[in-house]
Structure formats: C-alpha cells, structure tokens
Symmetry: C2
Subunit: 276 residues, 2 copies
C-alpha cells in the first residue's frame, strides 16, 4: 500500500493509502485510522462502509469516529464505495457505477470487470491490511445507507470473519427497493435468484445471525421509503433475533445523524470484539 497522506488525530494516525487491487483490476483508495493503542501491539479493526456517492473520504472527515476509536483502541478502515478511474465503467446516474458499487460482485457487462466490491471487502482488503498493519484479526463491520446494506449482508454471509455488526440507516431489503432492484438488475442480471445473496432481510431469514445487531435509523430520514426499516424490524422481531433497532426522532439521513450516534456504534463493536 502506498501512503498518500497521514495526519495525527486523537493521539493516533489517520492515513490514506492507495493500492493495486487484483480483484477490482485497478487502483483503490482507502482511509485507515490507527488508535494510539496500536503503538503497543495489534488492535481490532472496525470496517466502515460508506453510502451512495461517497468516496473513502466522507466518513473519515465527517463522522467523527476517530475520537471513539481512540478511546476504545479500535482501528477503523474506510474503503471506497467502488472502483474508479477513466477505464472503469460508469453511468450518468448517481446511484449506478462509480460511487455506487453496492458491495456486490457484478456479473454483467460492462460492470463485471471492475465492480467486485464484495470480494474486495471480504477477501482482498482484509488480507492486505492484516499483512501490512498492526491488526489482531478481530473484525467488526458497520456502514451507512448503501454501506449499511453492505455491512449487514457481508456480516451475515461471513460470521467467521466479522464478529460484530451494526448499521446506520441501512438499505435492508434492496430486492424490494428502487435502491437495489435497478442496481442488481444492472450488476447481476435480471434473474432475481442471483440477488438473494445481497439482501440483508433475505439473508437473515435464511441464515440467522448468532450475535446481536445494532441498527440506528432516523425517524424523519428523507429516504425511508427506499430503506424500508420496517422490513428488518418485523423480521428481527419475528425471528426473536437478538439486537437493537432504534428509531431516532428528528434525525435525517445526513452525516450529522451518523456523527450523533457514532459513539454508541464504536462502543458496541469494541465490547464485542474484546469479548470475542
């Protein structure tokens, strides 16, 4: 990994790295926060997956997670939301192509060559980070909106890798949402049998989750119809799934919402990763 920038932050270091991704067949950028505790030995890692239109930078700059990560001794990685660059396929719409990878492995043209964010997050990037950074192999995962979808689906499919999971305003049921159907059709094709591996509600219904789940959702989020929190709330209650779904009065979809509850999420992961 090539270091792009590094800033001291809450006694730790906030770095930006670039690296060649074999899986995405191109150059990827990411942010990595190491807490002060990393100077004394390897630490757990919290994955933060960002939402539509975001790069690695938005949450790194706006969410204020470093303060809490420094307090609890967690590293935080901020991956990009898609491959990028001139040779990478794209679309005019904000919700397809670059900045909108949806954490899937695309199988359809023109996306299949680069858009393999699922494998990038689940296999390539963990290996790379473990090789080069002071990490102890304990992973938790969270994310916002499209990134909340990514966090839930990736955790549910990989419980041996991710020991703790939470989400901010996640897209929980993309196969029933215009944030999902459009993209899955483009990336995965029209056979909906191939979509079920990327829908948090369908995955939880099929596989369950042995741990507990924390979800925060703004009650006046402008995208509630696309996020469909009621589908996850209903499912968690029906399955007696351990977890907390919090509907936060007055909050919208912005990073002010993420920042307001970031401390609770970092603590949630720290408590579960230390016990793991």
């Amino acid at each position: 990994m090539e270091l792009v920038s590094q800033n001291r932050c809450f006694g730790g270091t906030q770095s930006v790295y670039r690296h060649r991704s074999e899986i995405c067949d191109g150059e990827m950028t990411l942010g990595l926060f190491l807490p002060p505790q990393a100077a004394n030995g390897p630490v757990p890692l919290l994955w933060y997956l960002s939402g539509l239109t975001c790069t690695h930078e938005n949450a790194m700059i706006k969410a204020g997670l470093q303060r809490h990560a420094a307090e609890h001794g967690l590293a935080v990685v901020f991956p990009d939301t898609s491959p990028r660059g001139e040779g990478v396929a794209d679309d005019q719409a904000y919700d397809l192509g670059q900045g909108a990878g949806f954490y899937v492995n695309a199988t359809q043209r023109p996306w299949a060559r680069h858009f393999r964010m699922y494998d990038y997050i689940v296999t390539e990037l963990p290996t790379l980070l473990m090789e080069e950074q002071p990490l102890n192999g304990q992973h938790g995962i969270t994310g916002h909106s499209m990134g909340g979808h990514g966090a839930l689906t990736i955790a549910f499919r990989n419980p041996e890798l991710f020991r703790s999971v939470s989400a901010f305003a996640p897209i929980v049921n993309p196969t029933r949402s215009d944030w999902g159907r459009k993209q899955f059709s483009a990336y995965l094709g029209d056979d909906e049998a191939h979509w079920v591996d990327y829908d948090a509600c369908l995955l939880l219904a099929e596989r369950g989750w042995a741990g507990d789940i924390l979800i925060d959702q703004g009650a006046t989020d402008q995208f509630l119809d696309l996020l469909r929190p009621e589908a996850m709330a209903n499912l968690m209650a029906e399955r007696r799934q351990a977890g907390v779904m919090r509907m936060q009065a007055g909050y919208d979809h912005s990073y002010y919402f993420v920042a307001s509850f970031g401390e609770d999420h970092v603590r949630w992961h720290a408590e579960r990763l230390k016990a793991a």
Copy 2:
C-alpha cells in the same frame, strides 16, 4: 435570516442561514448549532472563526464541535470568512479576497466596499443573532489559523462582548508574517500604523487581557513559520499573562488537529461563560 438547511445533530439542531448584511453590502451565509438546552431557554454562544479558503461549512462538517457543545449547552456560530459573490472583489491567490477576509475592515480599493468582516463579527452579526435566536448574551470566541487571528484580535479589542477566548494554530503576529503583511497592505494600505489594531501580539502588549487564554498549536504544523507561535509564547510569558499555550507533538494544521482538541476548547469556554 433565511433558513437554508437544518439537521438534527447530537440532540440539537445544526442550521445554515443566509441573510443580507448591511455592513458587507451583500448576502452572507453562516452555520448555527443550537444545543438541546436551547429548547429550555437562552444559552451562551461560542463563535468559531475559520481559516483561509474556508466557508461557514468546513468547521461545521469537520471539527466535531457539536458533540461537546451539546454536552455543555453552548450554541456555536460558524460565520463565513469573507463576503462572496459575483459583485464582490476577489484575487487569484487563495490568501487574498474571497475566503480570506482576515477579519479586518478594509479601507482600500477594491476591497473597502464589501470586506468589513471585523464590524460584521463585532457588531452586525451579534445583534442579528441576539434578535432571532435563543441566546443569553454570553459570548466566547475561538478560531483556527486566520480565524485564530480573528478570535484573538476581536476578543482583545472587545473584552466587554467576548468573555472567553481560545485559538487553534492562530496567526498571532501578522504584521511580521507573509500571512498578514500582504493582506494588510492590500486591505488597509501601506501605512503600518493602521495595521496594529489587527495584530494579536501588538494588541495584547498594548491592552492586555483580563481573563486567561487557551492556544493549541501543532508542533509539526506545516505553517509554523507563518503562524509564529513563539512570538505569542514569549509575550504571554513576559507579561505573566494568565493562559495555556500547548505545543501538541505530532499534530499538523488540519482539521484532524482541531477535532482532536475541540473538546478542551468547548469546555474552556463553557466553564468561563457559565461563571461570567
């Protein structure tokens, strides 16, 4: 004031307003955070003055002050750093004209018509905010870089208005710095006698400050030669000025530095404004 946006944030509200400024002869934009306590009655106000190239938005998004302001019951205002717009004079350089008002009242062409940030911060905006917002008339002031210069100079000249003062990496001695001499020459003319009212070191030497002063400075700030913290450190020590000057090892000039020490500054102001 016309409301542009409003987001729930740490139980309070982060708003952006536009308003017509008589003093700057144009439209100005600002951010205002009201803590949850403002629902129960008027609260003190912390002024955050931003640095070169910033708008009202940078600190509002990046500094993470809202969390601490919500805890301590302070409102925070984030003014812009200059007048803006098509009819407003500007310069190609990042450090002159729009985004670089230096918190002075310009007297020279082409700046004198709009660039009156000193009067805007000291007279027009306090009056407007007191009229329209739940504020109790207790003011503290802080800022970063050029905004740290603004905070120190404005506080030292207006101790009856600003009861508490702090700064992050301030330009402390602009009459001896290329961040100062160039701008003061343009805005105020070549007679350096007109510059002394805008130099924190010269003002402190002449007038003193009855309270105490908190200054944080990154020890590896890339702009140390322009900020000249040693001038202020020497002066405070010589005058036995009550205060704290902290040289923070490893920190640079970025908002990661501001965010890392924002909690201490908000607490500093909260303690002094409540006692005032």
